[in-house]
């Protein structure tokens, strides 16, 4: 019997609310959100799961309930086995989960990333700031209701904007590979690098009209 199997059986004896999770590879358990810290601590201390390999969350789409599931992958450098621990966040609008930074400092950046991209708040996290997107970015891009093309937001540097007196607008996303709808602005206006279509072989280019008249 490998260590993860023993861990799973012992875990289910100690925490009766822990249930099996369907999995194609490693052992996996579902844990109620209130018990997750105790479960992870138990796995770390009793079964030598000393490495928190990965921490992430899944968004099961708008309207799904539970909508957010936080998933932990532990690895034991002693027994060389994985275990997957998953917990459903209680609230669908304001998902929260307890922070495990106390158990593994490695969770610090993982939880910040999870908060940044999916908006899961980790209670008792020492420093829950955004990590990949900038401070003050208003959305959580990995949520399913966030469009792939993105949403235009003002640039992060409010200071620069205040200094210059010009509203800082992000570079237009027109012409990018993932833009589904063309939007209201025309391409030339929105994307300065795009081909200028205000002239053609029939209508002369505006700045060359004068030249043509001169020649004729």
């Amino acid at each position: 019997m490998t260590a993860p199997v023993a861990a799973k059986t012992a875990l289910k004896e100690k925490f009766p609310q822990v249930t099996d999770r369907l999995s194609a590879d490693h052992d996996a358990v579902n844990v109620p959100v209130g018990e997750v810290v105790a479960v992870l601590k138990y796995l770390r201390d009793e079964f030598a799961f000393d490495l928190l390999m990965d921490l992430t969350a899944i968004d099961w789409a708008e309207g799904a309930s539970p909508r957010f599931t936080v998933v932990y992958h532990l690895f034991s450098s002693v027994n060389l086995g994985y275990i997957r621990v998953a917990t459903d966040c209680a609230s669908n609008d304001e998902p929260t989960a307890p922070s495990v930074v106390e158990l593994w400092p490695a969770a610090n950046w993982h939880e910040r990333e999870c908060y940044d991209l999916l908006g899961v708040k980790f209670t008792a996290h020492p420093d829950l700031r955004r990590i990949l997107m900038w401070d003050g970015y208003p959305y959580h891009p990995l949520r399913k209701d966030f469009p792939l093309a993105g949403i235009e937001v003002p640039l992060p540097d409010a200071e620069i904007s205040a200094e210059t007196g010009v509203a800082a607008i992000a570079v237009p996303m027109m012409g990018g590979p993932f833009v589904a709808s063309p939007g209201e602005m025309n391409l030339t206006e929105a994307e300065p690098r795009a081909k200028d279509e205000s002239w053609s072989d029939r209508d002369a280019r505006p700045d060359q009209t004068a030249l043509k008249q001169l020649k004729s």
Binding site: L22, S23, A24, D25, H26, A28, D50, L51, L52, M53, D54, T56, I58, D59, V71, H73, F75, S77, L80, Y82, R84, V101, W104, P105, A106, N108, W109, H110, E113, L117, P126, D127, R130, I131, L132, M133, W134, P141, L142, F146, L148, F178
Partner: protein, 421 residues
């Protein structure tokens, strides 16, 4: 969690104790009387290897607070993955650790193959191992070269780039691309190895080992290099595990964890190689581990060449996953339909979730794939080694000299394309 420390005997404090520094209570204090200075190191800084920014607070030459700012290269790879088929995502894995794209391709392919319960034939596994080990040499070469450059040894970079050029030539012969290879497919590789390629790899190995010894001899017993690295950036075993460090950075701290040995994949269990570990966990140990790993990679490559199995280089039973060959598409109706379905709807995967990790040059690269069935992943999480390795920087870069920060970053050998995804 960047904690701030105070330096007990800085020059300004000593001056104040002697009564030489006049304390001012006006606004000017902030300008002149303050002892600490904020310094933004990066995102465009030669020693931050890309676009890492360290927000440093310094007292004289000593770093009192270090807060890494990452995300300048964030492209939303995980979001993109949710919106394209499994096959279409392969080129995106090139752009994670762009110094070892072949290793990333392989890790991603194996993760999805696990989801599809697909076994690839031995020849395909051997080809993948050989390319992954060549990618490891290529990545470590760049890592050492850049490390040498960071601490003032220019020659190392020139020698290592020379060797990488040879490797790129071989990659080009095999995959058609030098840098962004996109070589593996789910259920196989794009094409079989060309005639004579293995001989060229053998030739490369023959000239590489002496060249590697020459390169390492420039650093290993170099007094300046010793002064810059020995005892600098020491990471204890416990810290390395707690912060989730992997790869040479973990092994440099004395933990012999190598998934090629401990959780063998793609047939690594057939090959004989040693896992080097450090004793002190300082920058010098991390350097030594990388040097030895390249020798072991050559050992593995030679064994693979010797035992290269014949047979198929893609899984025959993967007809609904691995796109058929072009000549078959043009001659057989059945294959044409298959090709069309794979291209338009993607390879159909069963619902389920898998987590697979591979030992990449930079550390352990993990892919967590959640599928609801169909040709597109519901969620794809990339566990990138550079991201996890960098999370210990605030801890070990506090209370040291600024110049040591450069040496430590060099010894970490991270890639921001992978960290920011």
């Amino acid at each position: 969690m960047a904690t701030e420390i105070s330096i007990p005997d800085s020059a300004a404090k000593a001056a104040r104790a002697r009564g030489e520094l006049v304390e001012s209570t006006s606004e000017a204090e902030h300008e002149y009387g303050s002892e600490k200075m904020d310094l933004s190191m990066g995102p465009s800084h030669p020693s931050t290897h890309g676009v890492l920014r360290l927000q440093l607070q310094i007292d004289g030459e000593i770093v009192t607070k270090c807060d890494p700012v990452v995300g300048y290269l964030h492209r939303g790879d995980e979001k993109i993955a949710e919106n394209m088929t499994y096959n279409q995502f392969v080129p995106y894995t090139d752009r994670l650790d762009y110094l070892a794209p072949l290793a990333n391709n392989m890790a991603y392919a194996i993760a999805v193959e696990k989801l599809a319960h697909l076994e690839v034939p031995p020849r395909c596994q051997a080809i993948r191992v050989i390319t992954a080990e060549m990618a490891r040499i290529s990545s470590h070469m760049m890592g050492l070269g850049a490390f040498g450059l960071d601490v003032g040894a220019w020659t190392v970079l020139v020698l290592s780039l020379n060797q990488r050029e040879f490797l790129y030539k071989l990659f080009e012969e095999l995959t058609g691309a030098r840098f962004t290879t996109s070589y593996t497919r789910i259920g196989g590789v794009t094409r079989d190895i060309p005639d004579g390629w293995l001989g060229n790899v053998e030739k490369f190995c023959d000239q590489f080992l002496p060249a590697l010894e020459e390169l390492l001899s420039l650093l290993t017993r170099n007094k300046i290099f010793h002064d810059r690295t020995v005892g600098v950036g020491v990471i204890s075993k416990a810290d390395a595990l707690a912060y989730g460090l992997t790869g040479p950075n973990l092994r440099g701290s004395g933990v012999p964890l190598d998934l090629r040995k401990d959780k063998p994949y793609s047939g690594y269990e057939q090959y004989e190689f040693d896992v080097p570990v450090g004793t002190k966990g300082d920058s010098y140990d991390r350097y030594l581990v990388r040097g030895e790993e390249m020798r072991q990679s050559v050992r593995i490559i030679r064994q693979v060449i010797k035992t290269m199995p014949a047979g198929d280089w893609f899984a025959k039973d993967a007809v609904k996953i691995f796109a058929p060959r072009k000549e078959k598409v043009l001659t057989s109706m059945e294959e044409l339909i298959n090709n069309f379905m794979i291209t338009t709807e993607g390879p159909q995967m069963p619902p389920g979730e898998v987590y697979f990790e591979a030992e990449n040059p930079k550390g352990i690269l993990g892919f967590y794939v959640v599928s609801k069935g169909g040709g597109v992943p519901w969620r794809l999480k990339i566990r990138s080694p550079s991201f996890c390795n960098l999370s210990i920087v605030p801890k070990i870069c506090t209370g040291i000299l600024i110049s040591d920060v450069v040496a430590i970053l060099g010894s970490f050998d991270f890639v921001m394309g992978e960290c920011d995804r």
